[in-house]
């Protein structure tokens, strides 16, 4: 799985960090998403999928391999 984030669309909701803190973080100043792992391990895939689904800006794209 490859994770791609769109920082321009991100609204800083932080839902991704709540679901998968190993993969996502937020910038201090504006809360915009920061990607910690572009290729998360298999045990995190479910959480990352949930994060992508629930993101209110749909700013997380997943390429499933």
């Amino acid at each position: 799985m490859k994770v791609v984030i769109d920082q321009d669309k991100c609204v800083g909701a932080g839902q991704c960090v709540l679901l998968a803190p190993e993969v996502f973080d937020q910038r201090d100043e504006d809360g915009v998403v920061v990607l910690l792992q572009e290729n998360p391990p298999a045990e995190l895939h479910d959480a990352v999928r949930q994060a992508a689904q629930v993101c209110p800006a749909l700013a997380i794209e997943l390429a499933e391999s």
Partner: protein, 377 residues
């Protein structure tokens, strides 16, 4: 066949969830706008300011479904499981998702004058944006979310902006008078005039709007007026269907409005299992979460829908974020950051519990404080 009425965020999410959860039968989406689903929050922000090309709001909609766009549902027969459509056709369904959203509320006068706008759809946003570029005096009626966001964008475009609201502070319905006072100051600091505590009694103009009459006798000159006085659930088409419509489409805690009928998004009210009362949430995050919940219910995998609502607003260089609920008489307390420095977070307490947290340019702390919602206070 599962039918989804409403081709916006909640309807799209329901469709995607039905497919993801294994529904492989036919799916039809009926949407009254001509567009494929798009995201509404940027309309009053990036689209209006021109930072985004309008096409950027389109939501990724690659999902196996039939789309009937530019078509309205005009009637519903619940026992017969049939929709009546604006084309004159009927659509038979087995299960139904209602996600028809809301419409902008209008003033009881002046809607036919040129220059008077509401902002709900992409075409609304583009029409308003085109006039805003040349406007000298803009009056915004309503200091809620929409009015406050648009005031920030319009003043940034060089217009002379006045916001009018009968309440004593902007965004008071969302955050109460204390935070509302800070929002008022934010706008004043950017040169936006706030005429608070006074209602609008009329619009002046001959063909095109020229002024806004206030209850205190003042007439504000205006080339362009935005009416941002809230919204009305789109339930007219459900009159006579037998569905309960006291606050949008009334649902139970599993988002069910009737056997085989669920509702989601701005149009749906439901009994929140934690708060024990009926609420309806007109925010973007809820469109996604309730779209998912309602779809799961249709597939027999439903659970009581108990979200912690999330919403945000961007005004000038301030991002205000909110998790939870904010009853009218909830008491705010600053628990992180510094109000004077323009970065802080506030807990709201009501009935002995923390009900919500609001952050003002403090996203990380605000997110972390979310976990305190529900704790005794």
């Amino acid at each position: 066949m599962i039918a989804v009425v409403g081709a916006s965020a909640a309807g799209l999410t329901a469709v995607q969830t039905l497919r993801r959860e294994g529904y492989d039968g036919p799916l039809t989406v009926v949407g009254d706008e001509e567009h494929m689903p798009y995201d509404r929050p940027p309309l009053s922000k990036q689209v209006l300011s021109g930072v985004w090309e309008p096409a950027k709001v389109t939501l990724p909609s690659t999902v196996d479904a039939s789309w009937m766009l530019g078509v309205r549902a005009v009637g519903l027969d619940v026992p017969g499981r049939r929709l009546a459509l604006s084309t004159g056709d009927d659509l038979a369904y087995e299960k139904l998702v209602i996600a028809t959203g809301v419409s902008a509320r209008r003033l009881p006068f002046g809607s036919d004058l040129a220059g008077v706008h509401t902002l709900r759809t992409l075409s609304d946003a583009l029409a308003f944006k085109a006039e805003l570029a040349a406007a000298k005096s803009v009056v915004i009626v309503g200091a809620g979310f929409m009015g406050s966001e648009v005031a920030a964008v319009a003043s940034g475009m060089g217009a002379d902006v006045t916001v009018v609201d009968p309440l004593p502070a902007p965004m008071i319905r969302q955050f109460g008078p204390w935070l509302g006072g800070l929002v008022a100051k934010l706008h004043a600091d950017h040169g936006v005039r706030m005429r608070l505590g006074v209602g609008v009694t009329g619009l002046r103009g001959d063909g095109r709007v020229s002024g806004v009459e206030l209850a205190d006798g003042v007439v504000l000159p205006a080339d362009v007026v935005l009416v941002a006085i809230g919204s009305v659930p789109n339930t007219d088409w459900l009159a006579g269907s037998g569905l309960s419509l006291t606050d949008g489409v009334d649902c139970d805690s599993l988002c069910r409005a009737a056997p085989n009928v669920v509702a989601a998004g701005d149009v749906a009210s439901w009994t929140h299992p934690v708060h024990g009362r009926r609420i309806r949430v007109e925010h973007r995050m809820n469109a996604t979460e309730q779209g998912m919940a309602a779809a799961r219910t249709l597939l027999g995998k439903g659970e009581p829908y108990a979200p912690i609502p999330y919403f945000w607003t961007d005004q000038y260089d301030v991002k205000i974020q909110a998790y939870g609920l904010f009853p009218e008489d909830a008491v705010p307390e600053v628990v992180a950051g510094d109000v004077g420095a323009g970065k802080f977070a506030v807990l709201y307490r009501h009935d002995g519990r923390v009900t919500g947290v609001v952050g003002w340019n403090l996203p990380r702390d605000t997110r972390q404080l979310r976990s305190r919602i529900g704790e005794p206070a």
